[in-house]
């Protein structure tokens, strides 16, 4: 995916900065997203994801750095940018007291989709959302998943090459969510560049690449796989044991153990080398009168990765201050 980004960058940010008074919302952010890529901006509320997207949509003016969307500079030509993008907001921005068809026609008008094409695009959107036969239904009567797909349809009526999705799956069921992501992948395969912002860690799984954002900075970028394996700085083990408390207290002193925390009914242990620790730890615990019921290697979650990276970032900031 990185090759795509290098070859045909559709969205580029260079040293992007945005301040609100003394508060730095976006702190020297850099990224490149290529054609047909699905990029996820992952981070908690208030991290700066929405602010970055608003800058890219031409809704906010950056204080520093530069951003290019479809080759257009967002600071100098925000109106032009909007011709090339589609945007789907968290609350779906549909008119609940209008019908499916009316909403689509409305957005078609807003985006100035040429008359000849509008009928065909509306049909495409209805099919994509699976709403054939329900064109005259009021949006308020549709369940969450249907509204979500309809909102996506409204956002792509004018065939934008770039799509911004702001928390698109909040409040939507898992089955609908999967169906939605299928649609996104189909669009990406057709060459649409997609930028998604979300605070659901596991939503990252659906993206080609992910940027972890915290307090206005990107602290890591890469595919979910890359991040899981390289960013953690270790390997993760699951340890089920008889007495959680004492074991948790004991483990940090064990050889090769980097970190240890409770997770549900078991412990997650971060070690330098999983293969060695699997045997070493059982022995270590026995020597200290504690029993390990089960111990195995597990895949770290993106959240584990994020926490480690944030901790490292914080340490770096403190050192720099």
């Amino acid at each position: 995916m990185n090759e795509r980004a290098a070859a045909e960058p559709q969205i580029v940010a260079e040293d992007l900065v945005k301040r609100f008074g003394s508060f730095v919302a976006v702190d020297h952010v850099n990224f490149r997203i290529g054609r047909g890529e699905i990029m996820g901006f992952l981070g908690p509320n208030g991290a700066g994801k929405s602010t970055i997207i608003r800058i890219l949509c031409g809704l906010l003016r950056p204080n520093g750095g530069r951003a290019l969307v479809a080759g257009i500079d967002v600071a100098s030509d925000p109106e032009q940018v909007r011709e090339h993008i589609g945007y789907m907001s968290q609350k779906f921005s549909l008119y609940r007291d209008l019908t499916v068809e009316e909403n689509l026609k409305f957005f078609g008008g807003i985006y100035r989709v040429p008359r000849r094409e509008l009928a065909e695009r509306v049909r495409f959107a209805i099919d994509m959302a699976g709403l054939r036969g329900r064109e005259k239904a009021l949006v308020a009567t549709l369940a969450g998943g249907w509204q979500q797909r309809l909102a996506l349809g409204c956002a792509v009526l004018h065939r934008p090459p770039i799509l911004f999705l702001d928390e698109p799956t909040s409040g939507v069921e898992p089955t609908s969510r999967r169906r939605f992501w299928d649609l996104i992948h189909a669009l990406a395969a057709d060459g649409v560049t997609v930028l998604v912002s979300t605070h659901y860690m596991d939503e990252a799984e659906y993206c080609h690449r992910v940027a972890l954002i915290n307090q206005g900075r990107i602290i890591a970028t890469g595919s979910p796989e890359e991040l899981r394996h390289t960013a953690l700085g270790g390997e993760l083990l699951l340890l089920e044991c008889a007495s959680l408390g004492p074991t948790l207290a004991m483990l940090p002193q064990a050889p090769g153990v980097l970190d240890c925390s409770v997770f549900g009914n078991a412990l997650h242990v971060l070690v330098r080398d999983a293969a060695r620790s699997l045997s070493e730890l059982t022995t270590y615990l026995e020597q200290n009168g504690l029993r390990a019921i089960r111990i195995e290697r597990i895949e770290p979650s993106l959240e584990d990765v994020f926490v480690q990276l944030i901790a490292a970032d914080m340490a770096k900031r403190r050192a720099a201050a």
Partner: protein, 314 residues
């Protein structure tokens, strides 16, 4: 852990209607003493409504709630003495400082001043908020607000905690701190009932109930839940995800193929049986793939599979 189950919260046939829609529809579950119990489900599943009924701030249309032997529906005031509730929406006073908020809630529960100050100091230190004591609650970050909410809920040492989506949108570090505090409470024997829309957070609970459409789909430990999953997940790592999916989707024994960022997750009936066939299909279609292996199902996988068995889908 085969200790005898000692229920401390029992909900039976809970029903609550808003206009004609039943937000909660015949919900039943039990929570054992000293466990962390999760009510898990997407938005609209009825989690918040259930929590409000448990806390006594909303009356059910039907059903019963027994908390520590008290019938909360007929005697909500008595119930309130035993529980501590943290609503989903930040319930503290934004125009009061951290200290003033804690003091207020301690006074509501008539905690003696010395005990209150000691406990407050300890709780604030545990969540790293000591430096923020004189800050107005409205000026705290999202994660800090949640930690403050928890601190106020804990200042009167409750035995039963009701937390409604306490970690939604919170940064991962605060989330981890939060769970560390919860695990510490569990060690002290506190029973915690927590709701979440993050299906992966469900794995942190002792037991959980999957909610959908106001009803309980399934109720057990995360491990048992995953074993209950019909079939298994096979993860195919490939850069050509769509082609891979196209190649295997119609094979025998494959009920689903889900596109993910780095490949495909296939839901099969028997992994050992089907993996060779999957491999062949991919090779025949000339689809490049880096790996193909059994993967542990996520709670979401289980959820979706169970939902399909129910025949519900949007």
């Amino acid at each position: 852990m085969n200790e005898p189950r000692r229920p401390i919260v029992e909900a039976n046939g809970l029903t609550k209607r808003f206009d004609t829609v039943a937000a909660v529809d015949g919900l039943s579950f039990t929570v054992d003493r000293g466990e962390i119990f999760g009510l898990v489900g997407p938005d609209g599943a009825g989690k918040t409504t259930t929590m409000r009924m448990l806390a006594g701030v909303m009356a059910p249309d039907d059903g019963s709630i027994i908390i520590d032997g008290i019938d909360v529906v007929s005697d909500p005031e008595e119930g309130r003495q035993h529980i501590s509730y943290m609503p989903q929406r930040f319930g503290l006073y934004e125009d009061l400082t951290v200290d003033e908020n804690i003091r207020f809630y301690a006074d509501l529960f008539e905690i003696p001043a010395r005990a209150r100050d000691q406990r407050a100091a300890r709780l604030l230190a545990a969540s790293g908020m000591t430096a923020f004591r004189s800050r107005l609650a409205g000026q705290l970050s999202g994660g800090m607000k949640q930690k403050l909410g928890l601190t106020c809920a804990l200042v009167h040492t409750p035995r039963i905690l009701l937390l409604d989506e306490p970690t939604t949108g919170v940064d991962p570090v605060s989330r981890r701190d939060f769970w560390r505090i919860l695990y510490g409470l569990r060690e002290d024997g506190v029973t915690i009932l927590i709701t979440t829309a993050y299906l992966d957070e469900a794995e942190r609970c002792n037991r959980l109930a999957l909610l959908h459409g106001g009803r309980v789909l399934y109720c057990d430990t995360p491990a048992a839940l995953k074993q209950h999953m019909p079939g298994a997940i096979v993860a195919i790592a490939s850069s050509a995800g769509r082609e891979a999916r196209a190649a295997i989707a119609t094979l025998e024994g494959v009920s689903h193929a889900l596109l993910v960022g780095d490949g495909v997750h296939a839901v099969v009936d028997d992994a050992g049986l089907r993996i060779p066939a999957l491999r062949n299909a991919l090779q025949r279609a000339n689809v490049p793939f880096a790996d193909i292996a059994v993967s542990e199902p996520s709670i979401e996988d289980v959820f979706v599979a169970l939902l399909e068995n129910e025949g519900d889908s949007q």
